[in-house]
């Protein structure tokens, strides 16, 4: 009785070779796909920075847009009203969205019966998926028709966009707050509202800040809700939210349609500023998110 020696070479068979080649091809394709995505990001961001760099000077940030007749030297021109306008519009939107979002998150996570909470969450998720242009049209019909455009109406449209985002991230962090903290507070005799507001909510500040900054980053770049609510603005500085105000996205949108190469360069400059703002906001959000989640998991 001799030992059976396997005759088929398992590693060099034709079939195995084919399977390996297919595997290599797929792995290569996956790697290339990731490279393509990163390359697109690099191409877009670098062309924005390269083309916008020349426009970024002090005048650009401090002057109002100057009309150019086409003769003589071009007057110094900037996008100061658009920068201020974006800050005002986003600030107001945040003021409207933040309280609603936080209260919503409290209800959904702390108070609501589970069935009801899941239905209401679904409503916010669906709301989150409504195209920004439709929100713009809605606000246009709701408050602009017959009354005229105003910056606060643009903020209202953006707030509708922000509430689901902020509520979602607040809710996620509230869910991480250990239930023992609530039990301890209730056992000490604190009322439920007291427990919720002064024990649970402070733990979720990180999540709220994360959601708010992410929502700000997204809203700062939205143009569609502004088209019908704050597009007919003047070139002068304006701080009045009851009037339509300029904004960076609208400036880019309208400048891109012109044939003037100097306006194009300013549009690139404004795009660089906008991307800069969004980048900083996203990094801040990420940092806060990491920190607050680490804290709540008990790792310091």
């Amino acid at each position: 009785m001799s030992a059976q020696v396997p005759t088929a070479d398992l590693f060099r068979s034709e079939r195995m070779r084919r399977r390996r080649i297919v595997n290599w091809i797929v792995e290569g394709a996956a790697t290339i796909a990731a490279l393509i995505a990163v390359a697109v990001l690099v191409i877009v961001v670098s062309s924005v920075v390269r083309r916008g760099w020349g426009a970024l000077n002090l005048d650009f940030f401090t002057k109002t847009p100057a009309l150019y007749s086409g003769f003589g030297p071009r007057p110094a021109s900037g996008i100061a009203p658009a920068i201020i306008g974006t800050l005002i519009i986003i600030g107001l939107a945040l003021l409207m969205a933040l309280p609603v979002a936080i209260l919503t998150a409290i209800y959904l996570n702390e108070l609501a019966p589970r069935k009801l909470a899941s239905v209401l969450t679904l409503a916010f998720d669906v709301l989150n998926g409504i195209p920004a242009i439709v929100l713009g049209i809605f606000v246009f019909i709701f408050v602009v028709v017959g009354h005229g455009q105003a910056a606060w109406k643009a903020s209202f449209a953006l707030a509708i966009l922000m509430v689901p985002m902020i509520a979602r991230s607040t809710q996620e962090v509230l869910a991480l707050v250990p239930i023992s903290m609530r039990e301890a507070s209730l056992a000490l005799g604190a009322a439920k509202w007291r427990t919720t507001l002064s024990v649970v909510l402070p733990q979720a500040v990180g999540g709220i800040v994360t959601g708010a900054t992410l929502a700000t980053a997204r809203a700062a770049g939205e143009t569609a809700p502004l088209l019908f609510t704050s597009a007919l603005y003047s070139d002068q500085m304006s701080y009045d939210p009851r009037q339509p105000i300029a904004s960076i996205p609208m400036f880019i949108f309208t400048s891109a349609e012109q044939a003037d190469p100097v306006l194009h360069q300013q549009a690139w400059g404004a795009a660089a500023v906008l991307i800069g703002i969004i980048l900083v906001a996203s990094l801040v959000a990420r940092w806060f998110a990491d920190r607050s989640i680490r804290r709540l998991r008990g790792e310091r």
Partner: protein, 324 residues
């Protein structure tokens, strides 16, 4: 035992018995009112949009969907046919490009990449989602458009010109093809980030089991990962599609805003959302405004159905596998 049950029920079940606390009632009412805004807004948006579109809906009926016109016959005839065609072509075209790309990226990040590459590449792809659409549109007009008319378009027309979609030479940079590429860039981060989470949720044991049976990595992906994540991938595709259908700004910047139906992707066209955005400087007549809002109604109906479907799928997957 009772404590364990209460814990399982979550914070809402923690209830104090005994005397009535006004503060609790106030908190409950205020937060409940806030939480109802989602539903209220959905109803209000639908109602307002439908009311405003009513004159056009009454005049054109469903024929609006099959009429190709915008302001014809002295501003009395409007129809959405070419915009619906444009929306379908651009969104599905972009989805066709974005889905394989996103799946491949998600696979790379979950199955192939070493930890440090993952830590660099994953945030970069998320960052792609953060680029505002108006900036992508600007890039689309001034960089991508000329590239298509100058290099990519002639090359595709030259080699694949026998395909109807590449049958004409691109003469202007604003065309359907540019819109498809821009929408692809927008869809990839959405679809790939959802797929990444789905793939991470595939149980280790299943994959190890397949590997132990001698499967190659691709065979594990095809035989275990994809089937496991199938419905989630469908939801991700629906969400990506919703993004494409609803995107107004970047598309209106690059598509050329033309009321026309062409099979060639190198011709200018228009989508529903883009047509609305293009009319922001004011519509001349009440009928034109109503027709514009009618376009919004179509978008709204689509986005409500698509998002509801996607969310319900996501929910089913989440409760089954405990993936968020």
């Amino acid at each position: 035992m009772a404590v364990a049950q209460e814990r399982a029920a979550g914070p809402a079940a923690l209830q104090r018995r005994g005397r009535f606390r006004p503060g609790d009632a106030v908190l409950y009412v205020v937060t409940c009112a806030a939480a109802l805004t989602g539903v209220v807004l959905l109803v209000l948006i639908s109602q307002k949009v439908l009311t405003q579109a009513w004159p056009a809906m009454q005049k054109f009926g469903l024929g609006f969907l099959t009429t190709q016109a915008w302001g014809d016959h002295h501003n009395t005839l409007f129809g959405a046919k070419s915009f619906i065609f444009g929306t379908v072509v651009t969104s599905f075209g972009a989805l066709l490009l974005a889905t394989p790309l996103s799946l491949a990226i998600a696979l790379f990040l979950t199955e192939l990449a070493p930890r440090w590459i993952k830590a660099v590449v994953a945030p970069l792809i998320d960052l792609l989602a953060a680029i505002p659409s108006v900036v992508l549109g600007l890039w689309g007009i001034l960089v991508l458009g000329p590239f298509i008319t100058g290099t990519l378009g002639p090359a595709l027309h030259g080699t694949l010109g026998w395909l109807p979609i590449f049958s004409t030479e691109p003469t202007v940079g604003s065309n359907v093809f540019a819109a498809i590429l821009i929408l692809t860039i927008m869809m990839v981060p959405i679809i790939s980030s959802i797929c990444r989470e789905l793939f991470l949720g595939v149980p280790r044991e299943l994959k190890d089991g397949a590997l132990a049976l001698g499967a190659t990595r691709w065979e594990v992906v095809r035989g275990v990962v994809f089937p496991y994540a199938r419905s989630g991938i469908a939801a991700a595709m629906i969400l990506g599609l919703g993004r494409g259908v609803g995107e107004a700004i970047a598309v209106t910047q690059v598509i050329g805003n033309n009321v026309a139906i062409h099979w060639s992707l190198f011709e200018p066209s228009d989508t529903l959302a883009s047509r609305i955005a293009g009319q922001y400087q004011g519509a001349d007549t009440a009928l034109q405004v109503a027709s514009l809002v009618y376009l919004a109604v179509i978008l709204l109906v689509f986005s409500l159905i698509a998002n509801l479907a996607a969310q319900l799928i996501v929910r089913r997957v989440a409760t089954r596998h405990q993936i968020r």
